[in-house]
């Protein structure tokens, strides 16, 4: 489903990803771990198509298509979803209105008709209840004054609403209490499906107890330096990155 080959990415003229290769098949969940500043968020932004992240070499194929040729909103309509490490505040725009605008924009791009306000509200309420997101939060401005955990839960609510094909979760577990962590994991597991792939970026083995990955990749200095099954997370937890990073440098 996703095939990244020898990817080099520069931000502000500085090369951050330096020959990253990674493939994820439909139906799989992969985890990406790695030290701070190794390029994990950079990878997620490149996949989502953020301006300023320049691909200088290599390729990204998504369902056989050149992902880089698509605008970010086109990628979204085609099922690429990024739960961001730092969700953004938009003052004055209620969360509910934002969800409706986004959902209908994606539908329109796919040639589907708009959902009316009532249907959107029903859908949001159903998904929100499962994630214990209050009605009050939906009426407030998007992410404005939300706690760190609330922001992360809202990202998962959006994922649940948009049912993406490729979901990238950038440190969605950071800042979550243990109950919220379980809720988020349930949300992710509920979306596991043969035609869907997920990339979970995390620093903590704990999350991977709840979302069990098919594969773990370790990213350091802009490259994948180690790969393995779910047991790799335990090893990293015990030994840290030092020995792997040392190898790469």
């Amino acid at each position: 489903m996703l095939e990244i080959k020898d990817l080099h990415v520069a931000v502000g003229g500085k090369e951050i990803l330096k020959g990253l290769t990674l493939a994820i098949a439909a139906g799989q969940v992969h985890a990406i771990m790695g030290p701070n500043g190794s390029g994990k968020s950079t990878l997620s932004y490149v996949l989502a198509g953020r301006a300023g992240y320049e691909i200088t070499q290599g390729s990204i194929r998504y369902n056989g298509e050149d992902l880089n040729a698509l605008a970010p909103e086109e990628r979204a309509a085609k099922g690429v979803f990024l739960a961001m490490q730092y969700p953004v505040e938009i003052p004055g725009v209620t969360t509910l209105n934002f969800l409706k605008t986004a959902l209908n924009a994606q539908r329109r791009a796919r040639g589907e008709s708009d959902l009316d306000a009532m249907s959107v509200l029903k859908l949001v309420r159903k998904k929100a209840a499962a994630l214990k997101i209050s009605e009050d939060m939906l009426k407030r401005a998007l992410n404005v004054g939300f706690s760190g955990g609330e922001k992360k839960r809202l990202e998962i609510l959006q994922m649940a609403m948009f049912v993406p094909k490729l979901a990238i979760l950038d440190e969605t577990d950071s800042g979550l209490d243990i109950d919220a962590l379980k809720l988020v994991a349930e949300g992710v597991n509920a979306l596991r499906a043969p035609d869907r792939a997920m990339v979970v970026i995390t620093h903590y083995q704990r999350l991977l107890n709840f979302i069990v990955p098919d594969r773990i990749h370790v990213l350091a200095h802009g490259k994948i330096v180690a790969e393995g099954g779910k047991e790799l997370a335990h090893e990293l937890e015990a030994k840290g990155y030092e020995h792997l990073v040392g190898k790469a440098a």
């Binding site: 989502a48 198509g49 953020r50 301006a51 300023g52 605008a71 970010p72 909103e73 979204a76 309509a77 979803f81 990024l82 961001m84 730092y86 969700p87 953004v88 505040e89 938009i90 003052p91 004055g92 725009v93 209105n97 934002f98 605008t101 986004a102 959902l103 924009a105 994606q106 791009a109 401005a141 959006q158 948009f162």
Partner: protein, 484 residues
């Protein structure tokens, strides 16, 4: 078709899209001779069938105007206006002094329908009465009978001058004196039409009142005059909308609006101004020089201005409140959008004269393209105005790096008990906000509209419900092409 030709065609079509009110109605017009002399003033007065006192009033204003100088303190730049090279009166031919809806030229009804303002009462927006002003004359006023039942007078001011002479005489020029400023004095001499509203004692006006101003004729200025009087304990909500055809020339619009609120009365006045702003290169567009002022004459009265200013090449406008009575309240909620080469210098004056007077100013300025947007506001507390309160919040939003936002607050507190608060912010649409929207599938222009509407929310909420949705769309449309 070659691809270049196709591209050109597409571009032309798109430009047409952007200002969708830019069409011209082809209708036979009658005009005053070009230029401005005493004879022009007499011509207009005669056309309106005015009494002598009104003509004298106009001539007095004209004499005064000839000695006045055009102001130049605002942060706007434009070619000198040649006042002798314009027309001051233009009206569709054969408009009788009074006409019923059935007699209105079908072309005019069609024009208003195209603008989204159906004038036939059975099709009209529920609960909104409309006065339609086309160039220099009012062509139709809806729901008059229904309003009459409540005792509310809602009619063209030209008609009020003839039929409600005593009321007009008593109030006209008492809020904005004939000598007030260059543009107001010019208006006093040559004003053509506009709306008159009188709400009697204790009456809550049963519907929204609105005037739809349309400039159609070329090389013609529009000088409308609006007078609204809310008698003791009454309430009225009024909205005006404005559009004009696309033309390469600049056209002058110099209106005067006077509001009088007597004891315990409340007037809510909303404007959605969408005059033609000129093209992407700054060619054409309306010069909008407007004097709007409300007088809270009676104790406990309240006047609230809400404006959404998206059009015009130049906007020079400061809707103000004179808080004369004790315990009176003045409010000013404003959204001013300037894109491309538009220039907006707008704000308010809150003049606290009475005791325990309160005022509130919320201004949202949005600049894009190469536009300049200035908030200019005065809060003045006079010596006798004990316990006056003002809260001012001025927020500016910049889109792109070539536009400007300026905040010019003037504060005069001559009573030690005054409490005046002023907050100002300037921000940009952040790249991360845009990216967040895009990632969720919202295309760029829709994302900008969404973010800007969020920024303006406090003001949009003040608009009558019937118009809020339109205004939101307008905010999006006027910023099209501003990013990327």
């Amino acid at each position: 078709m070659s691809s270049a030709a196709r591209e050109t065609k597409k571009q032309v079509a798109e430009i047409g899209e952007k200002y969708k009110y830019g069409f011209v109605t082809d209708i036979e017009m009658e005009r005053a001779p070009r230029g401005l002399t005493q004879d022009t003033v007499r011509y207009i007065s005669a056309k309106k069938g005015e009494p002598q006192w009104m003509l004298d009033w106009r001539l007095g204003a004209f004499e005064r105007w000839q000695q006045m100088k055009e102001p130049n303190w605002a942060r706007v730049h434009y070619q000198k206006i040649d006042y002798q090279n314009a027309y001051y009166y233009a009206a569709p031919k054969n408009t009788p002094l009074k006409q019923s809806l059935d007699e209105v030229d079908p072309k005019l009804l069609e024009t208003y329908k195209k603008l989204g303002i159906p004038l036939h009462e059975q099709m009209a927006l529920a609960g909104v009465a409309v006065d339609a002003v086309f160039d220099s004359v009012s062509v139709a006023t809806t729901f008059k009978a229904k309003l009459n039942e409540a005792g509310v007078i809602f009619c063209p001011i030209s008609e009020a001058i003839r039929d409600h002479s005593d009321l007009v005489k008593k109030y006209l020029g008492t809020v904005v004196p004939v000598t007030d400023n260059f543009f107001a004095t010019l208006n006093s001499a040559v004003f053509s039409d506009g709306t008159f509203v009188y709400v009697p004692k204790g009456v809550r006006c049963p519907m929204e009142l609105s005037t739809y101003f349309r400039i159609n004729a070329s090389e013609t200025g529009q000088f409308e005059r609006t007078l609204i009087i809310a008698d003791v304990g009454s309430y009225v909500s009024y909205l005006e909308g404005c559009t004009a055809p696309k033309r390469d020339e600049n056209q002058l619009h110099a209106a005067v609006v006077e509001l009088v609120a007597l004891e315990g009365a409340e007037i809510k006045y909303s404007t959605v101004q969408n005059w033609y702003p000129g093209d992407e290169n700054g060619l054409g567009g309306i010069y909008n020089f407007v004097t709007k002022r409300g007088d809270c004459r009676g104790d406990r009265s309240k006047i609230s201005w809400t404006q959404v200013e998206t059009g015009s090449a130049i906007t020079w406008k400061y809707p103000s409140c004179i808080l004369r009575g004790d315990d009176t309240v003045g409010e000013f909620y404003s959204i001013a959008i300037a894109n491309n080469f538009q220039q907006a210098d707008t704000g308010t004056k809150m003049i606290h004269l009475g005791k325990n007077t309160r005022s509130r100013i919320i201004s949202k300025g949005i600049s894009a393209g190469k536009a300049n947007n200035t908030y200019r506001g005065l809060v003045s507390v006079h010596p006798k105005a004990a316990n006056a309160r003002n809260y001012t919040q001025c927020d500016s939003l910049l889109i792109g790096g070539k536009c400007g936002a300026h905040t010019v607050p003037y504060i005069e507190a001559r009573n030690p008990t005054a409490k005046i608060e002023h907050e100002a912010t300037t921000s940009k649409i952040a790249e991360d906000q845009l990216f967040y929207c895009l990632q969720r599938g919202i295309p760029q222009e829709e994302a900008v509209a969404l973010i800007v509407n969020g920024f303006c929310k406090e003001v949009l909420q003040q608009l009558p419900m019937e118009f809020a949705v339109e205004a939101q769309k307008l905010v999006g449309i006027s910023l099209e092409g501003s990013v990327g």
